[in-house]
């Protein structure tokens, strides 16, 4: 059982790490603010989600698990809202910004 859970953790966490890598590659390769937001938002939130998912079997107790999920939710919520605000600010600042 615990081996199975450990395997699950490894797979999920590794997948999450790959998404972080993808996000960073996006940041490095994409040309402008809007595509950066895209790279950061999508990849990072998914990355964190997978890491959280992978760590769930490793923590003790229900409360800790709930808190892990709450972390992901907060980041997701803030990320979505903030991305929109940044995009709007960037658009207002104009193409040269």
């Amino acid at each position: 059982m615990s081996t199975a859970l450990d395997i699950f953790t490894v797979v999920s966490v590794a997948a999450g790490a790959l998404f972080f890598l993808a996000g960073t590659v996006g940041l490095l390769r994409f040309p402008d603010v809007f595509t950066h937001i895209h790279a950061l938002g999508k990849a990072d939130n998914l990355g964190l989600g997978l890491v959280v998912l992978g760590l769930l079997p490793q923590v003790n107790g229900l409360l800790a698990g709930l808190k892990l999920v709450a972390i992901w939710l907060i980041v997701l919520l803030a990320g979505a809202a903030v991305s929109q605000m940044i995009a709007r600010a960037a658009r207002r600042a104009g193409p040269h910004a």
Binding site: A17, H36, K67, V75, A89
Partner: protein, 95 residues
């Protein structure tokens, strides 16, 4: 297991570092505003992995705090930086 988690933590940290370099160099402020957000997701992932590897349960509470404060800081970046110096009173996130 711990070794794997440490390694992944280091790996995520590395990607965060690279991303930070890109973001901080700008040129637009809007790029830079993403820095706290990047730390808010990548930094937290690295932190959670580090804590799980080292067996420090309290990092979960720390991550909660970090998530909230990173969100707060990012909002402040956008709010203040995107507004003209004297015009804070205007409705600046009108659609």
């Amino acid at each position: 297991m711990a070794e794997f988690l440490f390694a992944t933590s280091g790996f995520v940290l590395l990607t965060v570092a690279l991303g930070l370099v890109r973001i901080l160099r700008g040129p637009a402020d809007a790029d830079r505003m993403m820095a706290a957000q990047l730390l808010g997701s990548g930094g937290i992932a690295a932190l959670l992995l580090l804590g799980a590897a080292a067996g420090v349960d309290a990092v979960i509470d720390l991550s909660l705090t970090l998530a909230l404060l990173a969100a707060f800081a990012t909002v402040a970046f956008v709010k203040f930086a995107a507004t003209p110096a004297r015009g804070e009173a205007r409705a600046d996130d009108a659609a």
